[in-house]
Symmetry: C2
């Protein structure tokens, strides 16, 4: 905050309130650059936290309450301009007519990318629970199922194992239910959303993932059901096949595993994000699989992304991102291929970046394509 | 738009793109006040619609493309300032440096409150499917279950019956998974969210609804699991009890039914929203149940709300809302009571407002408390 010339932040987005307080309330979290925190809470009216709490009805009460608390307000107040609606940003900025208003969304996003040991422990728990659930998924398959019927069984299984269900995504235009299951031609269907792969979805109002395609002999079934057990999103994809699938599908899946193993070793602190992207592209080219990598007619421009309190955090592993990896970053890497008429293949694993060694792999369901 | 002096709207929120195009894409929907529509689409890259589609990579391409299409740009462009982030609103407004920028969120919100016959038909379908699911819910109960275990079974059931799972809520600070199940003391727990009732939730990151409370003999189980089968949210709450529950719980539940029946008759076109609120309060007072109505220590200030492409639309039935009901509005009415240590009681039904007759009740699961 000091580097950016910010004297205090006033935080109101759900995700950043969770990040800074450990729980979610409706209101405003005041964070002074000296470290003082005051929670201005609208709801719930019985909240208890170790830092001071002041209950408010509207944000206009905040300046007087800060004065009463002898909390000095500096010259520059930062708001989350990437998360707040324009209307709310204008309203709150009017509360501080003499102050300079800055945008604190980018610095919090950067801070959130690097997890503390406490956050990493929550990740390890979530990733293990998700991995254990995925091990059970093949047992839930019944011949004649559609992708949606299989998805419902897997959602049910992971909820019974403690998933809280909610999948949070950053960005106004991204939405998903619990995840996606892709098979057959639907795997190549472009989506409205900027996920690695698409799918038409169950309804035009939520156009991503499974779309009631029958799970036919020879097809692959890519399962990307999110593991949110404690607020942190473990992101892991595994592939099954209905009976034996094609040689090309099996081959491309092995290439995905090769990419993941290579990037796991390469991804130490200090390595640029684009190096991981370039390495993946290089391996894909060696195997002549460029055409079907990361989509068919519509391709994703990344091969991985940070994960955390939302599914898509920093960093994003693209060709252009020269920023270095930092120890504590948690990254989902998802080299995926479209196999014409058969479906999609390729795993996704979540890793934690470390200082002088390979990334720590948090997700651990079996890597091979499991025959249903 | 003409009344508000708006020459064109540029729409980018998911919900309003669905409202105006029938499906969801990533991009900008240009709506001229003469009725012309152009879809500026980022994703998916294979979209087909009856109106013209222009594929773009970024919004800065829009003005030149409008010129190429001989589409006159008036003096005033409206953006969704209540939905767009501050950062996006500033970016898009810079594309039109010579234009006056207005906020079209309020007029679209008002328009969306009144459903077309096509939308009402989608509502009827969703409400019937949700009602049929609720009829099955009591069969899913097993002695010794927690509220969450029961919730998981009901989520599974409604997904198998065609629910697409997603529950959309308006407002940056409101979130929910598929709905809530409230029992025992948890029913009185204040929530961070402005729903009718609260509950601690499964995790501090999503503090609403069931929280692993055992379903004990004598307690009520309030089930408010959303019915989103086609984008439109059927909102319906029903109450079960584990064995027989208390006389007070049964009595208060009958008062809720009385309120719903009274408001159903009262809610014709032209009646002010606050009249429905006042009628509910009047009935509650007659029965001396004010203390436990709409929460315990934290109370909701409304007794119902519009529903549609999001769970909470206009109108809101509060003491202050003098705006009149209009035929075609769809409203969920939820007179609910907290019964100390036992849980919550009271139904919620979704209705459509009509011109000269009682509201059309869309939801129809059995009204009485069903003994599990």
């Amino acid at each position: 905050m000091k580097q950016e010339g910010i004297d205090a932040c006033l935080i109101s987005s759900n995700t950043n309130i969770i990040y800074l307080s450990g729980l979610l309330y409706s209101g405003y979290l005041y964070l002074n650059c000296n470290g003082d925190v005051i929670h201005f809470v609208k709801r719930p009216n019985n909240l208890q936290l170790s830092d001071p709490i002041l209950f408010i009805r509207k944000p206009e009460e905040i300046p007087n309450l800060l004065k009463e608390k002898n909390q000095p307000i500096g010259e520059t107040i930062a708001l989350e301009e990437d998360e707040m609606s324009y209307t709310d940003r204008i309203r709150v900025s009017k509360i501080f007519p003499d102050k300079t208003i800055k945008n604190c969304s980018p610095i919090i996003r950067v801070a959130r990318a690097i997890k503390t040991e406490y956050e990493l422990e929550l990740f390890r728990i979530a990733a293990q629970k998700q991995s254990d659930a995925i091990r059970e998924f093949p047992k839930l398959f019944r011949p004649g199922m559609t992708d949606n019927e299989f998805a419902i069984e897997m959602e049910y299984e992971i909820r019974k194992r403690g998933s809280i269900g909610v999948v949070r995504v950053f960005g106004e235009s991204m939405e998903i239910f619990m995840g996606s299951v892709l098979t057959g031609e639907n795997a190549a269907t472009p989506s409205a959303f900027d996920f690695a792969l698409g799918g038409a979805g169950l309804n035009p109002t939520i156009p991503v993932g499974h779309n009631n395609t029958p799970l036919n002999e020879g097809q692959t079934v890519m399962v990307d059901i999110c593991g949110n057990f404690n607020g942190y999103h473990s992101d892991q994809t595994r592939v099954f096949s209905v009976g034996k699938t094609s040689q090309k599908a099996l081959y491309a899946h092995q290439v995905s595993i090769e990419i993941l193993n290579t990037i796991k070793e390469l991804g130490k602190e200090g390595v640029a994000c684009c190096e991981l992207y370039e390495k993946a592209i290089e391996i894909v080219k060696q195997h002549n699989l460029t055409d079907c990598f990361m989509g068919a007619t519509q391709k994703a421009s990344f091969i991985g992304h940070g994960v955390g309190l939302v599914l898509n955090e920093l960093p994003i592993l693209t060709a252009k991102n020269k920023s270095p990896l930092t120890a504590g970053m948690t990254i989902a890497i998802e080299p995926k291929f479209i196999i014409d008429k058969i479906g999609a293949v390729g795993n996704e694993d979540t890793f934690a970046v470390r200082k002088n060694q390979a990334m720590e792999q948090l997700t651990n369901a079996p890597e091979e394509i499991i025959i249903l």
